[in-house]
Symmetry: C2
Subunit: 304 residues, 2 copies
């Protein structure tokens, strides 16, 4: 098997050295990375794994777009619902463990494994976020301690010596979307939540142990009793969910500063919420971290 | 305004003395009640308020079916999404407060108000369950202490001296339906949850303060890691949600025995869960309680 290495002959004008694909459930983002590490092109579409039937054809098209540069495929494409079910690397996992778990279905194509935490009481999994974590490590933006990747399924990862030690998933965004699609809260959630005092009150409520499933209904009761507008109720619900997320994710972790990796608007909501928990935070752009992680993996593969 | 009173001339063979309608969001149940209190006919259909456009026509049809006996309309039909928005009675509320809040849009038709708890920190509302509570009180099946009405929106009601003192709503069934309709847990929730040891493990987890939104994802992680079957995961998720419900609803209440009012299968799940919290329970049939409550209200109206 030939590892897809960054071709040493590839200069900045001769097309990408490799293409990194963040291939999720509903979306797909491709980054054409030059030999010097710069991103020379990026595309984003809705060809997530759930809308793809013919993966070999889809991958062949990606390779043509890439001018035959190697492809590094990351995320749910490597799941049992994707192209090839790539076994998870086991936590604790560092970059060597991730690289060791890579599957190469064709020359020039590599699929990155996710990480599994085999634990009787707290089993957990991730697939995709590990690349961003490795990127943040490579960029020295994170060190030992807790890192948070907010999202549909927020991931909290404990790092130690460059190793992903423990993880915990909280299904915050998924729960919000489900409530928005079909529940007594749907109407309220048609409003865009603000990041204001009402939001922070919601954060406090669940961060301090308030009962989420009762407090969620309480947002509606506030509207019915005239205590709160529907728009404010949406902000409160967002706060309740993010406060719950923090309570589950921070656990007994003692990190004073929690790096947040992801899209800026959501990370900023989490940063505000973390302040209520007495934690500082830094926001790390998810795309930057992804590209850095992909480069680190390609480099490690080249030397493996 | 003429209160719809049980016609004294109505014998068991001459049609109902009155018709009580439990008119909810998605379903409607009608009980034709004879002068002696027996139910001589019952119907159930899906003409909940969300599928009715012309309430006057719908009500006229009900009256024809009732042989012009008075109608007692209960539940969401009296909400801002129903026929007429009937103001809530304020907690603490007893049967006199409920009767005082009844609205009579036409002779022979009465709409029962719900109950609102105006409270800065814990506002709450109910509309429909109060009739069943009054019925359970009339039947002397409940006394002072906590009563639980499990469901889409579980209601926990504190009773004292025949008065509904405090209420708390937990959106357990609504949340389960939302997760089933659209979330990473959808596939798992296609399985019917059992009421077994796996279910009770889930109950314990959240009853003891486990983080619901993380534990929910943990049910999926157990399936992915091969620790648990998809069917067992459905049972665990049901347990996690009901454990959360109990934690929110039991609060600091010290009732040793918690009456459960509603449909038997769901009440029995709650009864098993309550055992884990060291509480006994008795199950009170929801329809029996509803008819008894409607009779008590009609009687109180007649003497008002």
């Amino acid at each position: 098997m030939t590892p897809p290495a960054a071709g040493p002959a590839a200069g900045p004008d001769s097309g990408p050295a490799f293409v990194a694909v963040d291939w999720g459930t509903t979306n797909r983002r491709c980054f054409h990375v030059a030999a010097d590490g710069s991103v020379i092109a990026r595309t984003s579409d809705d060809r997530g794994i759930l809308s793809v039937d013919d993966f070999p054809a889809e991958v062949a098209a990606l390779r043509r777009d890439a001018g035959d540069a190697p492809l590094l495929l990351c995320g749910m494409v490597g799941s049992n619902r994707g192209w090839i079910d790539v076994p998870y690397a086991e936590a604790p996992a560092d970059i060597a463990a991730i690289v060791a778990g890579i599957v190469r279905p064709q020359p020039g194509i590599a699929i990155v494994p996710g990480v599994v935490q085999r634990d009787e009481l707290r089993p957990d999994i991730m697939r995709g976020e590990e690349v961003q974590i490795l990127g943040a490590l490579a960029l020295k933006l994170v060190g030992d301690g807790l890192v948070c990747h907010p999202g549909t399924h927020t991931k909290w990862i404990e790092l130690e010596g460059g190793c992903m030690m423990r993880l915990r998933t909280v299904m915050t965004g998924d729960l919000l979307a489900a409530l928005k699609a079909k529940s007594i809260l749907s109407d309220l959630l048609a409003h865009e939540p603000a990041a204001d005092a009402v939001f922070l009150d919601g954060v406090d409520q669940t961060l301090e142990g308030g009962d989420l499933t009762a407090e969620l209904f309480g947002a509606r009761a506030r509207v019915v009793t005239g205590q709160m507008s529907a728009a404010d109720a949406a902000s409160r619900i967002s706060g309740l969910l993010i406060g719950s997320d923090l309570r589950a994710g921070l656990g007994r972790g003692r990190s004073d500063v929690v790096p947040l990796i992801g899209a800026r608007p959501l990370c900023e909501r989490f940063a505000l919420a973390l302040e209520r928990a007495g934690r500082e935070s830094v926001v790390i752009d998810g795309e930057t971290a992804f590209v850095a992680g992909a480069r680190a993996i390609m480099a490690a593969m080249g030397t493996a």
